[in-house]
Amino acid sequence: MPTAIITGSSAGIGKATTLKLLNAGWRVHGFTRQLDGATHANYIPHQVDVTNESAVQNAVAAILSKEQSIDLLINNAGAASMNALLLTPGSIAENLMRVNYLGAFYCIQAVGKQMVRQRQGRIINITTVAVPLALEGEAAYVASKAALDALTRVAAKELSPHGIVVAGLGFGPIPTQLTRAVNAAKLAELNQLIGRTNGTTVDEAADFIFEAIQQKNLEAGSIRYLGKI
């Protein structure tokens, strides 16, 4: 049975993707701060704050004591804050960097070593159209996701000789907890800009991720968006 680790699997895009994988016969280990998510025999939730390096290492070690391999890592756990640059508290900028960039960094390190041992694996980092669009009002979020995108590209180069494909998948606005506080007009404007006038549902996002996972020739280091960029 193919095995995945999905961070942020208890809600939004992560939960929808987890369900798709479970239905397709995968076993999914989920990393979230609150133990929650799908109820399914092949869903194993782990209480892990991805910003805590040793918690990530311990959880991956625990998984490896039971699993023969980890075929897929999806770095999906994320946080956002919409705020004018000059009004964004430094602590918020720091937290976004920790969750969106460092969290993925720790997970890639811990899981990547196992994938190197396997000489195969796939890592997907979830990102946003806000980076290429350099969206104003989201400086701290955009910077943290830009750091993640840079990590995606470098990790792809370093890990592809080991048989590991690293790629990014990005989205425009999707109605989840993450975007609940964002002004509807702003979301509509952004959807218009990327050619998705009807917006994107979590299910469509999960389909996009699932297709990429199945794609044999997913290009290492590529960052693809659901929408026109």
Binding site: Q68, R117, R119, K157, E158, S160, P161, G163, E219, A220
Partner: protein, 127 residues
């Protein structure tokens, strides 16, 4: 894409060397000799995989990484990832070999076989 799966040809048969995956692994200390044996065994497999006889027949003085060495950074990553698992299977310790301590040493433990064996011995027993 780079040379994908350059390492795919010979998957090391680590299971034949150590405990089966599902065994209960007890926490053990490690002797310097065992630590050296782990490094040499792993290099033997890696040498075969990379078709580098110098690694296959490595000795204490064999250079690993840095000037005049036999491993590129990709080879070093493979060696360290594989060794961390070997250490776990041998003595139940989940260790990170490329830690801050290793990075801050004047002489890198990854430079030569003997230094790496010393380092593994030190790290495992310091748990």
């Amino acid at each position: 894409m780079l040379a994908v799966a350059r390492y795919k040809c010979v998957i090391p048969v680590i299971e034949q060397l150590f405990l089966p995956h599902t065994s209960t692994i007890s926490l053990n200390m490690i002797t310097r000799q065992q630590s050296l044996a782990l490094v040499l065994k792993r290099l033997h497999h890696l040498g075969k995989e990379l078709e580098k006889p110098e690694l296959q027949n490595a000795q204490e003085t064999t250079r690993l990484f840095g000037d005049g060495s036999h491993l590129d950074s990709m080879g070093l990553v493979t060696l360290i990832a594989d060794l961390e698992e070997d250490i776990y299977r041998e003595c139940g310790a989940r260790v990170t070999l490329a830690d801050e301590k290793a990075m801050s040493r004047l002489t890198s433990p990854f430079r030569r076989v003997n230094l790496l064996a010393d380092y593994i011995h030190e790290v495992v027993n310091a748990r």
